[in-house]
């Protein structure tokens, strides 16, 4: 693999890793607060459809992003209502929401646009286009660094940088603020938080709001930046890969960046069988590469690479003692 090819693959990695990163951070907030969220996929799908539809109708990518976040928030709140307020089973609620999203997105898009559950192709201001970061020109003459900066770092859409910025922000929020301490505590030992006089219910809902917003951005990125419009099942299991990445990252923000970018890299390299063959001098079937994220996660879960311990109160609805 020569340097130019590597740069192309890394650029592709960042593009494909971004929706995984956003969804993974979304899952991080909710699981750290003790709410398992298998419905990341459904929320992303709803957001993708809403942002694609609104961007097509208004011609504004920003309004599309807003609509995507709202749609995802609605689903997050339904999940909250079912699993926090009514203390239902979190996994069942999440799976149910995924099914609803799978059908509802196609139904709504078909009713609005009559294009077989697809939203019309977006162009111009209705999409987030790649932006060139300052200094691309100045660095272009520098060997190695110049092309790396121009192709890998620069030239992505704003939402990619937003996702990257969300990593340190999440770390700071979770590990350096009072809110973060309480959020983590509510996922480990909600009784102690309750004893301290802080509302478990409110904290968990707040976590789900953050989850909703991040899933909304992820969906909008799929429909208005990565692609030009929504298509049926366009998230294609990314919500589940993000959950795998979350386990792989052991519920930590910086690890989440590493895990999602690794999975993004695997997706990117799977698109270049010629590169794999040239580097390893053997053919690897594409499905084997597609399965790697899950295999890696199983290896982590089996305890080969340290231990992955989920938040202790995860999956259990909180019942106040009387």
């Amino acid at each position: 693999m020569d340097y130019a090819t590597l740069i192309e693959v890394l650029g592709s990695t960042l593009r494909l890793g971004t929706p995984l990163l956003l969804a993974c951070l979304a899952g991080l907030y909710s699981e750290r607060a003790g709410i398992f969220d298998i419905g990341l996929e459904g929320k992303m799908l709803m957001a993708a459809m809403a942002s694609g539809a609104v961007a097509a109708l208004t011609g504004s990518a920003w309004l599309g992003l807003g609509a995507g976040i709202v749609a995802s928030l609605i689903f997050a709140m339904i999940h909250g209502l079912a699993s926090i307020t009514f203390r239902g089973n979190q996994l069942i609620s999440g799976v149910a929401l995924n099914f609803v999203a799978s059908g509802a997105t196609v139904l709504i898009a078909q009713t609005l646009f009559h294009q077989g559950g697809r939203t019309p192709p977006l162009s111009g201001d209705a999409r987030f286009h790649g932006i060139a970061l300052p200094g691309v020109e100045a660095l272009s003459s520098v060997p190695w660094l110049g092309p790396f900066y121009a192709k890998v770092i620069s030239g992505h859409s704003l939402l990619v940088y937003l996702a990257l910025a969300a990593v340190p922000l999440t770390w700071w929020l979770l590990f350096r603020t009072r809110f973060g301490l309480r959020l983590r505590a509510v996922g480990e030992n909600p009784e102690s938080v309750d004893t301290a006089g802080v509302s478990v219910i409110r904290l968990r809902y707040t976590a789900l709001v953050l989850t909703g917003v991040l899933c909304g951005i992820a969906g909008a990125y799929m429909a208005t930046a990565l692609q030009a419009g929504f298509g049926r099942e366009m998230t294609a299991g990314r919500g589940y890969i993000a959950l795998a990445a979350l386990i792989f990252a052991k519920w930590r923000p910086w690890y989440a960046l590493g895990a999602t970018m690794l999975f993004g890299f695997l997706q990117a390299i799977a698109l270049r069988p010629d590169v794999i063959e040239g580097t390893l001098h053997m053919k690897i079937p594409v499905p084997a590469l597609d399965a790697l994220p899950y295999i890696l996660t199983v290896i982590v879960l089996a305890g080969f690479v340290g231990r992955a311990i989920p938040p202790r109160a995860g999956g259990q609805p909180y019942v106040k003692e009387r």
Partner: protein
């Protein structure tokens, strides 16, 4: 409930028309969907043309998963639909088992040969049309690299790729053809994100003309072609209108005509195998106001000459499906 409704409807219609061709035809779309702007949409357009001209109505169904195929066929057959037309090779096996159970119903399948007495099989000589657009791609390419992105990795799509490569090499022996398949499952017909990334990867390898033969995945491929300002080639339907200025041409396959003709013949559908190619305009390249500026006179002359030679038998384009090999890389 709905079954009863259909049966009642069919009985009533039979009673009214007393033996005349009363049954509505039916059309089943393969995965990828009715509005893929390509293969299935061509079939839909053919059916719509029939409906507009005859004032008739037809039943239709979009496949959502593999498991529905047999159920869908049997449902339509039992509801009295006749003829039943289906798009896509994937119906082959199912139709082979279902067709003998309904000897009075006529079936038509596109892109596959099913050897049953009540089935019409329509297959196209895609290699011929692909050969022509391959020539155009090689002539339009400035980098000397042309790309091909296929949908599901099946012999049929290899046939497109092989014809394309042969045409490209014929126009310019030094041209390099890079090709990728989107996947190995039917989901590969409906993965625009992957199509888009594959196209970006091919552009990175120097390709400046990309032929998309991938159903709905092609929407992502052609979008990227337009975003990156290179040239794209559409497939099955005439897709030139999608991105004017970036669409070199489209390899059209007259699926619409096949559906239209099958519907027109109705219950008197003649069964057997129909092979449609350049000679009867079943395949070809699209030229319209959207790509007129991109197709030079030289290009058009060369392609038309090659087309004439293929029809006359002077050029024989190798069909990948005859021996599952391609003479050119």
């Amino acid at each position: 409930m709905s079954m009863t409704k259909y049966l009642l409807g069919a009985t009533a219609a039979l009673a009214l028309c007393a033996g005349a061709a009363a049954a509505d035809p039916a059309l089943i779309f393969d995965l990828g969907g009715k509005f893929d702007k390509s293969f299935n949409e061509a079939a839909f357009n053919g059916a719509e043309r029939w409906a507009a001209e005859t004032g008739g109505s037809y039943k239709e169904l979009e496949m959502q998963s593999e498991a529905q195929r047999e159920q869908a066929l049997r449902r339509f057959a039992e509801a009295g639909a006749n003829p039943i037309v289906m798009t896509g090779f994937a119906f082959g096996d199912v139709l082979n088992t279902v067709a003998p159970d309904y000897p009075d119903t006529k079936f038509a399948i596109i892109d596959m040969v099913v050897d049953q007495p009540n089935v019409r099989s329509v297959v196209f000589q895609e290699e011929q049309g692909s050969y022509l657009v391959g020539m155009m791609a090689a002539m339009a390419s400035k980098t000397g690299v042309v790309g091909f992105v296929g949908g599901m990795d099946i012999p049929l799509i290899r046939k497109f790729e092989c014809g394309y490569a042969q045409g490209a090499k014929a126009a310019n022996p030094d041209v390099k053809v890079v090709y990728n398949m989107t996947g190995t499952t039917p989901a590969a017909w409906n993965d625009p994100v992957k199509g888009s990334e594959l196209t970006k990867a091919q552009i990175a390898q120097g390709a400046d003309v990309v032929f998309s033969a991938a159903g709905s995945t092609g929407l992502g491929i052609l979008q990227t072609v337009a975003d990156e300002d290179i040239l794209g080639i559409g497939v099955d339907s005439n897709q030139n209108y999608m991105h004017p200025g970036n669409m070199l041409t489209s390899m059209v396959k007259r699926v619409d005509l096949s559906v239209y003709e099958a519907f027109m013949e109705g219950t008197d559908l003649e069964t057997g195998v129909i092979v449609s190619g350049l000679a009867d305009n079943g395949v070809g390249y699209a030229l319209d106001e959207y790509n007129a500026d991109l197709v030079t006179d030289e290009m058009k002359a060369a392609v038309d000459e090659a087309a004439a030679k293929i029809v006359a038998g002077e050029i024989v384009v190798h069909d990948y499906m005859t021996d599952n090999t391609c003479p050119v890389e």
